[in-house]
Amino acid sequence: MIGALAYLQLTSLKNAARRRLQRLRQPRYLIATIVGLAYFYFFFFRRAAYRGAYHGPPGMAPVNIGLMVGLSVAVLIMALRIVYTWIFSTERAALAFTEAEVAFLFQAPVSRGVLVHFKLLKSQLRILFLALLFSLLSNRFGFLGGNVWTHAIGWWILLSTLELHGIAASFTRDRLLNLGLNPARRRVLLGGAFVLLGVVTGWWLRRHLPALPAIDLINAAAIFSFLSGVLATPPLSWVLAPFRWILGPFFAPDSITFLLALGPALLVLGAHYVWVIRSEVAFEEASIDLARKHAERIAALRAGGWRGLRRPARRRREPFALRPLGLAPVAFLWKNLIAAGPWFYPRNWLLISAAVLGVVGWLAADPAFHPLIKIVQAITLPVSIWVLIAGPMLMRREVRLMMERLDVIKAYPLRGWQVVLGEMLAPIVLLTSVEWLTLAVAAMSFGALTGKFADTVLLTSLGAVGVGLLVPPVVGLMVAIPFAATLYFPGWMSAVGQTGGGMEVMGQRLIFAGGYVLVLVLALLPAALAAAVPYFVVQWLVGLPAAALLAGAVAASVVLIGELAAVVWWLGGRYERFDLSTELPQG
């Protein structure tokens, strides 16, 4: 029977690999794969050769402090994760099978033990891949010690143990439930035990460990040193010992320590394996349910992108009353704002903006808070750029949804430009709202931090208004990119919208990210040239930098609006000629 299951797994793997290789015959997949591989090589493999140097406090052994911090934090995170699972999880005993596996294997003459082993072996493929990937990443941090192989084995032990623990814990919880210990009682009992452990540890600490001096609260090394001391204090240290053993090989600085740490770690791993295999729990029913939910989730993701992960839709208020007569694109704005949710309804957004600006204004008025204002000022520009680049990229799935409804939308009595503009309006409004708020925050922060208040208010205000004028057309041009890409390269966009991985999908995403930046630069060039003339003329005539800035911004925004109108018109024509029966990839 194991032979049949191995055949299933190996054949599936072989066919999946063959299908991916066959896709490389299409240039878009081949180019994207090359880009993806290059990124992978430069980001992971090449850098893996250059390990980061330690830059810690002088006078301390770098490996020791690095390992101390790493091990302590890892032990704590792992322990908290497992405690959380034991106390709060309500999942029933279930093994993650696909619907096909359930359909074929659950009715086949296969013993329960074989099914469990099949599941465990199958999960090993994922774990081995992750261990390799994580080891390439973690090996870049020199303070962790070891090498790429000790890291890979360390990751494998950690991930395998967590996998087995998750299964075993769900089996045990199910058994406890069958014995009459419902989740509420379990929470009380286990929660009580953990509180008791905390109290005992606290009492022990007060007797044996000196308190951390207040001055050391700003010293990271002292805090981590204290934390390590706490974790090494009985009885907490006894409870955490298995966690330390599991993490031991990963944090081993050299080969000897690694080999010594391997024994206890494998012992814990083996104990978990025995725990899973010996657990006599009926997992079939919950597994079938889990497989169904998983399949539904994948189907929902394929149909509606990330919406598949969300809860079912709830009825939403309208952002404004839509009259039956008027510009058709406004109907799309209305529809898409309802879909976006109430955060961006005009009244709500005004309230949010007023609250944010009120808080920033209050902080800016008090010099004591100016360090905080400096931080706010420093993050506004990255946030603004991120919104400008990532916002339209998030639109790709929305565009894909539109394409899926194209047989209905194309039957509407509308010109192409009306549909394109209509679908673009909501993202333009949403992203512009965020950009304007960011800009206002940046202007207030800048005004508060500069000395000459009266002068800077004028310059900052007019500068903000000027930049604010540029925002809607720039956002519009960025939003036009996924539309243009979908209408001209529907096959590419379909692949980019895929869930799941693949080197080619990663490569395609990278290519598109580069495309966004390139289009932004190309769109801004004529606008910058157009802005230069009025800027210098006004500066020469009036001598006011603020007025010159505003004049330049007005000229630039006129050019950008012209560019946007031309793009919408061009895309509208393409939309009308778009033949979904031949251009959309089938299946």
């Binding site: 919406r307 109907a331 979904l580």
Partner: protein, 249 residues
């Protein structure tokens, strides 16, 4: 009414529909039948302006669909096999949205009476996710009929409907035809077409095998005056209708 002349649609070198011509007058219901891959859905999509034909002319109410797509589309409605609704719009909001697209100034009264007629008056505030398959289909119909179309296309209209829903759908089609609309229904369910249609058009491999009134087509392919559309279909398409040998376990 709708007039189609010399409609041809090619996918690369492959002709999905070849030189197809037909006319459907107001009050007529034409059934579009054919085996899988005959070109039924392609024909419907070309006639509704969803995809451009390679050659040929489609006139809706006398308006050339290629020359003035907006004016032509104002007169038609297309119901795909699967109702495609917007996840976050309620039943009523769907009608508001469609009213704006078609510029239906008096939509409120019309929408209300459509919902009442389709027994959905109490579902106005529900989202598509809260509706059954039949109710979703009804909502799609309400949206499609809000602007009083003169030409209506149905692609497999009974998919997923329960017996009551099927009966209601058939009644709706008959009522629309009585009201003077020209209907074109694409379906594999020959019994439905036999019940509802006045005319039939049989397609095979993208070509018209026959079209005309049901009686005329029946007379052309069989000598029995009471032959079913199923018999006519198999005679016309030349497909072997004999059931396969039963499969032994």
């Amino acid at each position: 009414m709708i007039e189609v002349s010399s409609l041809t649609k090619c996918y690369g070198d492959f002709p999905a529909v070849r030189d197809l011509s037909f006319t459907v007058q107001p009050g007529e219901v034409m059934g579009l039948v054919g085996p899988n891959g005959a070109g039924k859905t392609t024909t419907l999509r070309c006639c509704t302006g969803v995809i451009p034909p390679t050659r040929g002319v489609v006139r809706v109410g006398g308006v050339d669909l290629a020359a003035d797509p907006v004016a032509a589309k104002r007169q038609l409605a297309f119901f795909p096999d699967e109702p495609r609704l917007f996840e976050y719009l309620t039943v009523w909001q769907h009608l508001v949205f469609v009213a704006r697209l078609y510029g239906v100034a008096d939509y409120e009264g019309r929408a209300q009476s459509l919902l009442t007629e389709l027994e959905m008056a109490d579902k106005k505030n529900l989202l598509p996710g809260e509706l059954s398959r039949g109710m979703k289909q009804k909502l799609a119909i309400a949206c499609g009929l809000l602007h009083a179309p003169r030409v209506i296309f149905f692609d497999e209209p009974l998919t997923g409907l329960d017996p009551a829903g099927i009966r209601r759908m058939k009644d709706t089609m008959r009522r629309l035809a009585r009201g003077g609309a020209a209907l074109i229904i694409s379906s594999h369910l020959l019994s439905l077409l036999e019940e509802v249609c006045t005319h039939v058009l049989i397609l095979k491999q993208g070509e018209k095998i026959a079209d005309g009134s049901l009686d005329a087509v029946r007379q052309r392919f069989t000598e029995q005056p009471d032959a079913s559309l199923e018999d006519v279909f198999f005679k016309a398409t030349g497909d072997d209708a004999a059931p396969p040998a039963s499969v032994q376990p």
